[in-house]
């Protein structure tokens, strides 16, 4: 898994992994939206998809598609989204998606004293 390869010796700490996943989600979000206003926006775990990003629901479909491709079988986005209706999905904060991904990814390999 690419996750484990990039985790580094001893495995990344949770905060470090969250920061990395936030960076990846941000990159996919910027590509999906593709408009100037989002390029300079500081996207954090607290950023909301509806209020702050004004994301269309079809853009969330495109985001989920990219994330499914990026993380593969390890992250069950279908199961995650199946428990919500469209309003709940679009009213999430970026952090809820990031934490779901981090929770789903296999724990980084621990090397001895980690």
């Amino acid at each position: 898994m690419s996750f484990q390869e990039t985790a580094g010796p001893g495995g990344a700490g949770r905060a470090e992994t969250e920061a990395r996943v936030l960076g990846e989600v941000t990159e996919d979000l910027r590509e999906v939206i593709g408009e100037e206003y989002v390029i300079d926006m500081d996207i954090t775990l607290e950023t909301t998809f509806s209020q702050d990003l004004e994301l269309e629901s079809i853009e969330f479909v495109a985001l989920a598609d990219r994330l499914r491709e990026r993380y593969g079988e390890a992250v069950d986005f279908v199961g995650f989204l199946a428990k919500m209706d469209v309003d709940q999905v679009i009213n999430m904060r970026v952090g809820e998606v990031v934490r779901f991904i981090v929770d789903s990814l296999p724990a980084p390999a621990t090397a001895g004293s980690a």
Partner: protein, 300 residues
Amino acid sequence: MAEVIANGVRLHVQRLEPRGGASADSPIVVMVHGMVMDNISSFYFSLGTCLADAGCDVICYDLRGHGRSERTRGGYRLADSMADLTGLLDTLGVDRPVHVVGNSYGATLALAFGLEFTARVASLTLIEPPFLIEGLGEEMARSLSQILVAMTDDEVEEWLDNGAGRVINRATRAAQRLLSDTTIATDMLATPAFSAEALAALPIPVLAVYGENSDIIGQAAGLAALVPECTLIVLEHHTHMVLREATGYLRSLLAWWLFDRDTPPPPYVRDTERRFATPEWVTQMVPPPDLNAGRRPAVN
């Protein structure tokens, strides 16, 4: 896989499967959204992910001209939409009968598809289908003109530019482009009526869902009377927007339809006190009330 070429058109497709992948006997469910102000996302979030999680192999797609599919100039007749769908199934290698679930125009398309390509269809779920034996094209054109009136009004233009926000602005501008740059309006007018004889011989189980307060509820009885294997569910206090309004119930209804049809359908229990009604400006075809009042200074 997000894009395929089907019937010569680039279509945006999302295939949703349960964790670990669908099996050879998983029901294949194809979801067909409504016309103009709709796209893949309505089914994706309401029933798509939920049914995939329950074990179905779900195919959601954007109709030609909608969402992230190619907006061709022509090709919006019912026959074209059916050719797009058969092309899509062929491209995806689907070689067994599918359960087609349609909403609004997508439900009308699903019914026409079931009549024309019976061997490819296992069941039909029709949510709020415009359904007429005579004058179906005129009915389609009427609902399009309703949308056009609502979108070309000066008040609406002002609201879109200043007060509507990005989401509504983008959805409405996309609909305006579809109506102005393509032949969809004239193509809809040419929608052929359904044949009563063909419907009476339809060998496919049909689940029809309408809202009691829908502007087309009057068409439900005719459909149920003509189609031999039709289960009609009418939901109290709901409108044409029942997919959005009663998502929770439709999830359990579809799970019953696909997995437990030998048992009685789940009873409808409203999960909200809210009663939904079709706004008067929709049925009367007049522009919406003053949308810009909130931003304008009061006039004495």
